[in-house]
């Protein structure tokens, strides 16, 4: 089960830049009543583990937890068997289970899943209610694992312990405790890495995995984009952990470093510069001269090809200015992608950013770039002052763009194509092109006949 000591430890992650400015013991912020937006710990845990397509993910809780969340994420999988990532499994507990406990229902549900779906593993997620009434999920899982001879992993991230980020960390703990190191890989190479924190949303990973293959980097396991439970069990044999755009799984990497002496690096695959930088960092960390040379060769070839394809876009985007209003690492990663396309990013939001993110945003935007602390109230003014041509933000900002008669892209909307890697930049370029060309933002803001009188 989950306990305060563990939560405290995770909230005070020493390797996290969030913790730098805080007094010892202070850790991450607790949600403020009324003001907490965004998902809970359970949400974070589910996001982190759900992409394992060969496992069934069983949510032990009442209706909202899974009923509103299944089949909502575009985490693609190449798994040839029955893809469980697009399915939803929940015990959907009722009043009886709250009063008498839900262990029996959980046990029966696991039995049903083993019988009907024969998964490679089962993840069982506790939720607020089942944690509060004190179901003995650990024991039920342990017995079910012994009986069925598959991993049945309890994930203790009930929503009320905190936000998404903490939930991801708790998911990492579950994987570390129950899966990593429980199986040996069929073979190893000196170039084996684990990918941590890329969930392959819209196939982001598939944009750069072919490049790895050409260079000779092997992905031993993934947590958890297009991942398999079978391979994450062998993750302890990798030479390097590569965290992709995810702060939350730093704890897992630090612990794997302590336990298995696997070093870790943190990279991003958004835009040309970041992709190139990421590849260089990985081969450098693997420390093989031949690999580094091969990487340079591949990078040179791919960058050249990309530049050619980008030329017409760069001409089209010359002189265009963008204001970016989105959270976390997107504040600088999308900025970097836009700059690679020749768009000037005049402002970005740092409302939810960490110290690291702010530093990076400053680096990318330069001295004249505006870092908006309260983008909702600032962005309209910035658009006027800098003469921006496009606003990239969440749906709520659409009205600002229409009022200012400039183009708009909803960056928070579930996207259907990937912006990752070199080729993803072409997808971003296409979306930008259509946004710039589209007259809808001007047309829709026309005055009504009764307003012109």
């Amino acid at each position: 089960m989950v306990n305060r000591a563990k939560i405290k430890e995770l909230m005070n992650e020493s390797a996290c830049s969030h913790s730098k400015d805080k007094k010892p013991g202070e850790g991450c912020d607790k949600p403020k009543p009324g003001l907490a937006a965004g998902g809970c710990a359970f949400d974070g845990a589910q996001i982190s583990l759900f992409p394992y397509a060969d496992a069934v993910h069983l949510v032990h809780g009442p209706q909202t937890c899974l009923g509103a969340s299944w089949e909502t994420r575009e985490t693609l999988s190449s798994y040839k068997g029955r893809d469980h990532t697009v399915m939803g499994f929940t015990t959907g507990i009722t009043t009886n289970d709250v009063i008498f406990g839900g262990d029996k229902r959980l046990e029966d549900s696991i039995k049903y899943i083993v019988q009907h779906y024969k998964p490679e593993a089962i993840f069982v997620y506790s939720t607020c209610v089942t944690a509060l009434v004190g179901d003995d999920i650990d024991m039920t899982c342990k017995l079910a694992a012994q009986k069925n001879n598959i991993p049945v992993v309890p994930v203790h991230a009930p929503g009320f312990v905190g936000g998404k980020n903490l939930g991801s960390r708790l998911a990492g703990e579950a994987v570390l405790e129950h899966l990593i190191g429980t199986k040996e890989p069929e073979f190893t190479t000196p170039y084996d890495i684990n990918l941590i924190g890329d969930y392959n949303v819209t196939g982001d990973m598939w944009q750069y995995l072919p490049i790895f293959e050409r260079i000779g980097i092997r992905v031993l396991s993934s947590l958890s984009g297009d991942g398999r439970v079978g391979s994450i069990r062998t993750a302890h044999r990798a030479k390097l952990n590569v965290i992709v755009c995810a702060k939350s799984l730093i704890t897992l990497c630090r612990k794997m470093n302590e336990k298995y002496a696997i070093p870790w690096i943190s990279v991003s695959f958004y835009g040309k510069r970041d992709t190139t930088f990421a590849i260089r960092e990985i081969v450098k960390a693997l420390g093989d001269e031949k690999l580094m040379a091969k990487a340079e060769e591949v990078i040179a070839e791919l960058e050249e090809g990309l530049e050619k394809k980008l030329l017409p876009y760069k001409e089209m985007f010359a002189g265009k200015k963008a204001v970016l209003n989105t959270g976390g690492n997107k504040a600088w990663s999308i900025a970097s992608g836009l700059q690679d396309l020749g768009v000037e990013v005049v402002a970005t939001s740092i409302r939810k950013s960490t110290a690291d993110d702010i530093e990076k945003a400053r680096e990318y935007l330069g001295e004249n770039g505006v870092l908006m602390k309260t983008p909702a109230s600032q962005q309209a003014q910035v658009i006027d002052e800098r003469g921006a041509d496009i606003l990239l933000a969440g749906g709520r900002s659409l009205y600002t763009a229409i009022k200012k008669k400039i183009s708009f892209i909803d960056v928070n909307q579930e996207k259907k194509v990937s912006y990752g890697g070199y080729d993803g930049l072409l997808n971003l370029a296409e979306d930008l092109k259509y946004a710039f060309l589209n007259p809808v933002f001007k047309n829709v803001s026309a005055k009504a006949p009764w307003e012109e009188m």
């Binding site: 809970c40 089949e71 015990t91 959907g92 029966d108 709520r396």
Partner: protein, 434 residues
């Protein structure tokens, strides 16, 4: 295939590919249908976040929703007072221009398990306050919505003995989209009624471009209207789930007449509705209503050949399933199965071989041998997995794939006409090209 019986109890320990949505989600939607209300979910932040994303994607609109963010510590130490009062203070402090006229508080599984006294908290709140107990381990979206309408009447409508002739209250069930509520209100107004709907989504989430959306509910009924509802001459419940809200209003004034309709889809049900309105007002319907009745008659004949030779599976909230099922049967359609989200007495009356409470794992067994499925967007992927080509009409929550869900109208003569054509056209596509 072993058939599943209609029962209040589940027939298996878990749900696989669930269609059921929770009570708190229904309550949240209901509060969005009240003007300047602040829907506040008493829950951990995830419950509200999931609900917000769910409705944002279904309606493609900013969603007004807040939560008390109960933590593991407040779950044990707080009786609800702290997190609820702090929430209201924090929200109103942060948005100084925001003037909520109602705090719509509803509970969840978490806060019901810990047993908060959400009623007494109201004594410390200056803004009008309505509380609803909606644990998500009971009922479903339909009952959460209905309980909220009932709570609003019980807690806010003033007792009266007066009756204002021609003032009516319509109580639409949860599956009715904003345009459907608007059409029904308009329909009643054309008979000369001063018409209110509770909840009233016709001006909320209806796909209307305006500034500053998503902070408060923008429904067409205000708390001041709700206070004065007891002088209605009639209350009209649409959907069995809404009967309890109608009964709550009757307790406020025994002179109010109660009209109930399980649904207003199809010729017969709509005729019943019209004749009731005619009886009260002693007038004929407007020419356009008569015209639409004729169009529906024509649509029934035009579509009967395709629909009459086809098999259907319907999944969703009971009140919605019931209307669609009866309409399709009225033109000869064979409904193989109705798979409902939760138990409702309305399901007992359906003349269908397989009626039960279940999930898409259950429904999928019937997909194989049917021509057309009416379900939410989750069915789309399941149908793609099949060898056989089966047509699909998307209805119910959620529909993340199609746009304009709030403007889909299936009610009354007009909506039923369009619904029959949509179904028939989908069948034609599938039968000719499939």
């Amino acid at each position: 295939m072993e058939s599943i019986k209609l029962s209040k109890h589940e027939h298996k320990p878990l749900q696989v590919n669930p269609i059921k949505h929770s009570q708190p989600m229904g309550a949240a939607l209901a509060f969005m249908g009240i003007r300047n209300s602040l829907p506040l979910m008493h829950a951990s932040q995830g419950c509200a976040s999931y609900t917000k994303v769910f409705y944002t994607r279904h309606f493609n609109e900013p969603i007004a929703m807040y939560n008390t963010s109960v933590s593991d510590i407040t779950a044990v130490l707080d009786g609800g007072d702290y997190s609820i009062l702090m929430s209201i203070e924090n929200i109103t402090k942060k948005n100084k221009t925001m003037k909520p006229e109602l705090i719509g508080l509803h509970t969840t599984g978490l806060t019901e398990t810990k047993g908060d006294d959400v009623r007494s908290v109201g004594m410390h709140i200056e803004i009008p306050y309505c509380y609803v107990n909606t644990p998500d381990f009971e009922g479903g979206m339909e009952s959460g919505w209905a309980l909220t309408a009932k709570a609003l009447i019980e807690q806010h409508t003033k007792v009266s003995t007066e009756i204002k002739a021609n003032k009516i209250l319509v109580l639409p069930h949860v599956s009715m989209q904003p345009i459907e509520v608007e059409k029904i209100k308009e329909f009643c107004e054309s008979f000369g009624f001063e018409t209110y709907a509770l909840p009233d989504l016709s001006t909320s989430l209806d796909g209307y471009l305006s500034e500053g959306q998503g902070k408060l509910g923008t429904g067409a009924i205000g708390i001041d209207d709700i206070v004065k509802l007891a002088d209605c001459s009639h209350v009209i419940s649409l959907g069995v789930s809404m009967k309890m809200a109608a009964k709550a209003l009757l307790k406020k004034n025994e002179n109010i007449g109660h009209l109930h309709f399980d649904n207003v889809m199809g010729l017969k049900n709509c005729d019943n509705f019209v004749s009731s309105l005619m009886k009260i007002r002693q007038i004929e319907p407007k020419p356009l209503i008569k015209r639409w009745r004729g169009r529906l008659q024509d649509a029934m004949l035009d579509s009967h050949f395709l629909i009459g030779s086809s098999h259907f599976v319907i999944t969703g909230e009971p009140d919605m399933c019931c209307g669609m099922c009866e309409l399709l049967q009225s033109v000869g359609g064979t409904v193989d199965a109705v798979v409902a989200t939760t138990y409702s007495p309305v399901l007992e009356g359906l003349d269908v071989e397989n009626v039960f409470v279940g999930d898409l794992e259950d429904a999928q067994k019937y997909f194989q041998n049917t021509d057309l499925v009416i379900s939410n967007f989750h069915a789309e992927r399941l149908l793609h997995l099949q060898d056989k080509d089966t047509a699909l009409v998307l209805r119910g929550f959620p529909n993340y794939e199609e746009l304009g869900n709030q403007l889909k109208n299936d009610q009354l003569y007009e909506g039923s006409t369009y619904f029959l054509f949509e179904v028939a056209n989908k069948l034609r596509e599938q039968k000719h090209h499939g």
